[in-house]
Structure formats: C-alpha cells, structure tokens
Symmetry: C2
Subunit: 203 residues, 2 copies
Amino acid sequence: MSRDPDSGLQRIILDTARQLLTTVGYAQLSMRKIANKIGYSATSIYLYYGNKDELVHALIDEGVDLLYEELKAANEKSKDPLERLRDMCVAYIRFGLDRPEYYEIMYVLHPEYITRYPAEKYRKARRNLEMMASAITDGVIGGKFESTDPVLSANMAWAQLHGGVTLLSSERVDKRFSEDTLIRASCSQIIRSLLVNPKSVEV
Amino acid sequence: MSRDPDSGLQRIILDTARQLLTTVGYAQLSMRKIANKIGYSATSIYLYYGNKDELVHALIDEGVDLLYEELKAANEKSKDPLERLRDMCVAYIRFGLDRPEYYEIMYVLHPEYITRYPAEKYRKARRNLEMMASAITDGVIGGKFESTDPVLSANMAWAQLHGGVTLLSSERVDKRFSEDTLIRASCSQIIRSLLVNPKSVEV
DNA sequence: CAAAATGATTAACACCGTTAAGTTAGTTGA
DNA sequence: TCAACTAACTTAACGGTGTTAATCATTTTG
C-alpha cells in the first residue's frame, strides 16, 4: 500500500476522492463510486490504499494543510498578537463553514476513525493549535493578554471555535442569529477572555 | 407507523435499540442486530418504526429528556444564578462524556439526520438552552452578570461546552490536560465572560 | 526464453437499510 | 358456521457498502 505517491493512478484516485468529497460529501463517498468515476474496478484502489481509512487519512492530510495555510496567512497579516489571534479565529471558522466536508473528516468524524490516524500526521495537525498558542503567548509577553497557561487557553479557544463551527454548520444553533453575528460573538468571546483590560471591546 | 406506544414489541425494540446504542455505539447499531437480539426478523421493526431515522429519533428524544433532567437538577441546586449556570455547565459536559452515544446522536450526527428531526421535538430540545439563558438573565437582573443578549450568550456558552465535549470525547484535545482541568477551564471561561467583575475568579 | 513481478480484474463474503409479497393466526359479521 | 378481513410477522430480494482471494494479462528481469 501507498507506494510511489506519483504513480499515476494513485493521484487520480486521490483527486477523484477529493472531488467526490467536496461535491457529494463524506457520507456518499464510497470506494465503488470513486472506481466507477475513473473507470477502474473498486478493488484497484486497494493496490494504492490499504483501505478506506488510508484514503480518507490522505484527504484529512490535505485538509490539515489547507487549514494551516489559511491560519498562517491570517497569522502573518498583522504584527499585533490580538489582531493575529482574531484573524486566525475568523479564518478557522470560515474554513469550517466553507469546507464542511474537509472539516467533517478532520474534526467531526467518529473517534474510532481518528484513533487510527497515524501519529506523525497528528503532529502536523497540532501545528495549527500551536500557532494560536504562540499568538497568545506573544500577547501575554506584550502585556495585553493574561493567561496562566497559553496552551490551555488555546485549547479553550479551539473548543469555542469548534463548537461554533459544528453547531453553525449543522444548523443546530438559533436561527435568529446570523452567521456573521455568531462568528463575531465567538471571536470577541475568545479575545475578551484573554484581555487584561476587557473594557476595550473593539473587536 | 408508530402506533400504540405500548404495544409490547415496539417497547422491546426501543429498549433493545437503546441497549445496543449504549453498549456497541451508534456506528454498530443496525436494524438487523436489533432484530436478531430480540428474535424477530428485521422487517418487523418497520411495523413500528417507519425507518431507522424514526427509531433513532425516538432515542434522541430519550437523550433530550435525560439531559433535561440533569440540567434541571443542576439548575435547582442553588438560587445563585452564577452557581446555577456553573452547575449546569458541569452537568452538560458530564452528560456528554458519560453518555457519549446519546450525545453523538443528539448533537454530533450528520446534519442530514437532524434535518429530518421533527419540529415539535426541536422545541423540546431547545428547553435545555433556554434554561441556561434564563440563568444568565437572572444573573444580569441581579447585577452580577453583564450581557447585551442573554440568548446569544447562552449560545456562546453552548458552543464552548459542545466544543469541549466533542474534542474531549474524541480525544482530539491535548492529553497533557486532564479531563477535570478542561472541564474546570471551560466552565470558568464561560462564567468569566459573563461576570461584571471578572477579578473574582473563584469558580 | 523462462521466470517473476506488476497492474488490473472478477467473484465472492458478510454486512447494511429497505421494499414487496407471502404466510399464519385470530377476529368479525352475515 | 364459514367466509372475509385484519394484524403480526416472515422470507426473498434489491441495491448498496468495505474488503479479500483468486485469477489473468502484460511487462520486466535473470
């Protein structure tokens, strides 16, 4: 399984899987559908991916990179830790709402699934959280933020963001509030919880 | 479908479905397994539940009631809005972690699923959030809390709690932090975001 | 040239939700 | 009493799923 990454068919499989994922969603993504679409038999996929897990893990990988790029761009837009954090929060939620299929396989799918996710890839996924943690740390150093444990704070921020994304995109949240209202509220909630002087709520 | 709720077999089906849900989890819950366990054919279930959705919705219903009882108990333990809210937050997270299968079908499962969830049941599910909102409102009236929109604040709190539950129970969260640490941090995060005077962080 | 490796296939297994048709037993009404 | 009807349940089947084993060409290598 998983031989030369560029051996033609493997790339085609991954491309088709990605396309199906983003069009019909994970629930409708099947080995047979991928195979049909490219004119191969379903079992051919198993020559390049040991099982469906491996294939989805490859897609998760892409999602992690995609999110990383978004977060990095947000993080580099400004020098101010507060703005960096705020922009990253917005970028995170936007990613979750704009690419729900990626978000689903990355962060929503069954725990069983993620258990089998290789440890090395785990580390890459953690970069994203670390980037937020370092913005918080910078804010603390700069005296604008207050946090006894920036990593814990980053995890709390993540929980807030993740909860927001999932409740929003599953339409479980109160429809009286617009998407924009909820995004703003989430971000200012996170920022305010870190500010030394929360009176300045110009988020 | 869904005739007399107490027509014997219907109850047995629901009981067995619940038992399978809590033992093997939703992913392993199938019509055929339920049927096998009670010695009937799978199609017999369709005499009492139109499809798997209906059956799962009945289970979701139970979960909603279960959570409601927990939240109500927490809400009635004290008169102080802050304590009420704090206890409800803890109760919510505990429910999510102690009954992950219920929590999954209630709040994690595919959006498609919840779309088909009947509107009347939706209302019942909303009671839970309203109870938190009213504790916040009481806190605002009492002058301890600050919130321009208690319902929005309740939704933010919910997002934080939901994010915490899902990240924790899917073990996506940093393992350096104990479950207890994360629960405490989530709750104090929520409370602090509402306090007029956040200096008193004795949560 | 024969042997081995490569890349793909077909057939099959064991599941899944669901539908249609059939069976069996019990009740009702003329 | 006996035919008609109804309720409760079953079997068979459809189309779908992930996955494995066996097979068949084709190409590469010794």
